[in-house]
Amino acid sequence: MKTEDQAWRDLQAHASAQLRAGFAERALRAARGPQDATWRQLNAHAARQLRPGFAERVLRAARAVAEVPSLSSQFALSAATAAFCLAAVIFVQDRSAQLADERNLADWERIVLSAQDAQDAPDNDSI
């Protein structure tokens, strides 16, 4: 039968067999947190993702973006176009209403004149 000490030693041996090689170094690294060299590796990896000619591509894209009219200028142009169309519709409507009035007036004048002529003319039946 094992003594209590022996049992503890077995437990420790089993537990320590679970630790992979380099445990102490890993624990220390984790305790210290990432070092500057690791951050530099991260930055270097990121820098490698930029394809050659990055700056030229950015400037070309910036020029292209500048040539596209901004949202506000597009809105202003739409508003101006809408205002122009509205003014044109009002003008045409006003003008056609005026022409119709003139035509109607002329018709009425003609009718009035014909009526007056009819009134002034001698009554053929009475003769």
């Binding site: 992979r20 380099g22 890993r26 690294r29 984790a30 305790a31 947190g33 990432p34 070092q35 500057d36 060299a37 690791t38 951050w39 590796q41 991260l42 930055n43 270097a44 990896h45 990121a46 820098a47 993702q49 930029l50 394809r51 990055f54 700056a55 030229e56 591509r57 950015v58 400037l59 894209a61 910036a62 973006v65 500048a66």
Partner: protein, 182 residues
């Protein structure tokens, strides 16, 4: 390539503000690697680096003439970078809500052997566990920004930066396990 002094940087920025393309080119060349590192730390995605860096520098070229203090260029640039990355992460999150099946397509693993010495892998893993704001904070510190500059970049106080930085470092250490099980 980096502008050697604050005065040289301010001169370069002033020239860029006047539309001098050589100065704009020089600024991009000077900061592209640092911005790429910042984007990678923020997003943990190699395939975002070029695209987001490009967006950041396009914004820089278009808005640099509105920068009031050329000496504050670096803080301003990294604020642009931070906001661009956070917008991207928000869009990504929204896309996951509307297209939940796309998640496995979004978490594309790095190609084997492309990155990972053990510690870099651990750092990437630990950063991925943090909130984007904390990642930004740590990346800005690594950029060599002072607490005051970070406070200005993040629109907060130096005391708040210190407190948040302390917490972010604690969290990073908690998750930083070289040789972690993926």
């Amino acid at each position: 390539m980096e502008p050697s002094s604050t005065t040289a940087l301010a001169d370069l920025v002033r020239r860029a503000q006047k539309g001098d393309e050589n100065a704009q080119h020089e600024l991009i060349m000077a900061y592209q690697h640092r911005v790429a590192g910042f984007v990678y730390a923020m997003t943990n995605r190699s395939d975002y680096v070029e695209d987001l860096s490009q967006q950041i520098f396009i914004k820089m070229v278009r808005a640099v003439d509105r920068l009031q203090a050329p000496a504050q260029f670096e803080s301003w640039l990294f604020r642009l970078a931070r906001n661009t990355c956070i917008d991207q992460l928000r869009r990504q999150k929204l896309r996951r809500i509307f297209l939940p099946f796309g998640e496995e397509h979004e978490n594309i693993p790095e190609p084997a052997g492309a990155v990972d010495p053990e510690e870099l892998d651990a750092l990437r893993h630990a950063l991925a566990q943090l909130r984007p704001q904390d990642r930004a904070l740590l990346a800005l510190v690594q950029e060599g920004r002072s607490h005051a500059e970070i406070a200005e970049t993040l629109d907060t106080t130096v005391a708040a930066v210190k407190a948040r930085l302390h917490r972010a470092r604690e969290h990073l250490r908690e998750h930083y396990q070289p040789d972690h099980e993926n």
